[in-house]
Symmetry: C2
Subunit: 162 residues, 2 copies
């Protein structure tokens, strides 16, 4: 009887613990993202999605098709097209027809886009470094490892429920 | 000279480590949230914001004003009003004039709303338990502690930059 009560009690505690971890996880993510968005707007008059497009293009110096860019960013084609058009009119991105299929366009950073991205990336990295400044290298390594365990756990649940 | 190179090297590694932790943190949060949203739609034809409103009302059995509800949910008054109107027309929420100020309305869960929330909460907790099933109690406790350190670090940075 005591063992049974104990088991129920532990079960309830364990249940609350995962929810408490999740709430704290979501709270950290939201606060960091909110702060990054706010600073991109205030200090560079730009947005996180624009930064993500520039970062993806930075990794493809030879240029990339719009559909590959959408795939890399995990967002819909329409959204990426609108962002790329904006960045193009700002002079940060150029597009040209694909040599093998003139209906598809290849987009790439301009030199101005590369400079602009470098400024954004420096600030972005600094903001992140500041937000993580209270964590020791050991804390960071431990957190990185535990998030890997969580990621694997989330992945395993997906397989089971699929 | 070697010490200097070493220092720069460590600095670069440390910088990359916080970004790697952040990317993993955001990836876990996004995957979990996306999965919860999807299941609320598929299995209950409802949304995460509706669930959040019901959860907030559940904690206030005597009812709550719309502005207190907005504050508790950290969202704008207009958004909460729209959600509450929806939930009211579904029969999950009732509203009445505040006794001290008839222009303000007090909203509360109906009995049907309470039953509906109980079903949602049971499923929600089970989904979370399943997603965290690969983490031992020690992992959960360690992750909870490290997220507290991160939260404090983010908070301290905000103070400094304010």
């Amino acid at each position: 009887m005591v063992a049974r009560i104990r088991e129920k009690h532990d079960g309830a505690l364990a249940g609350r613990m995962d929810i408490r971890v999740l709430l704290r996880l979501l709270s950290c993510s939201m606060t960091i993202e909110k702060r990054l968005r706010r600073r991109f707007i205030d200090q560079f008059d730009t947005t996180l999605p624009r930064f993500d497009v520039l970062a993806a293009l930075e990794r493809q110096p030879e240029g990339v098709t719009m559909s590959d860019l959408s795939r890399a960013l995990l967002v819909s084609n329409g959204n990426v097209t609108a962002l790329v058009r904006q960045l193009e009119s700002d002079g940060y991105v150029s597009s040209r027809a694909a040599p093998d299929d003139r209906r598809r366009s290849i987009v790439a950073l301009t030199e101005r886009g590369r400079d602009h991205f470098a400024d954004l990336a420096t600030a972005h990295h600094q903001w992140i470094a500041n937000m993580f400044a209270g964590m020791s290298p050991n804390d960071l390594t431990a957190l990185y490892g535990l998030l890997a365990t969580l990621k694997a756990s989330i992945g395993a649940e997906h397989e089971e429920s699929a």
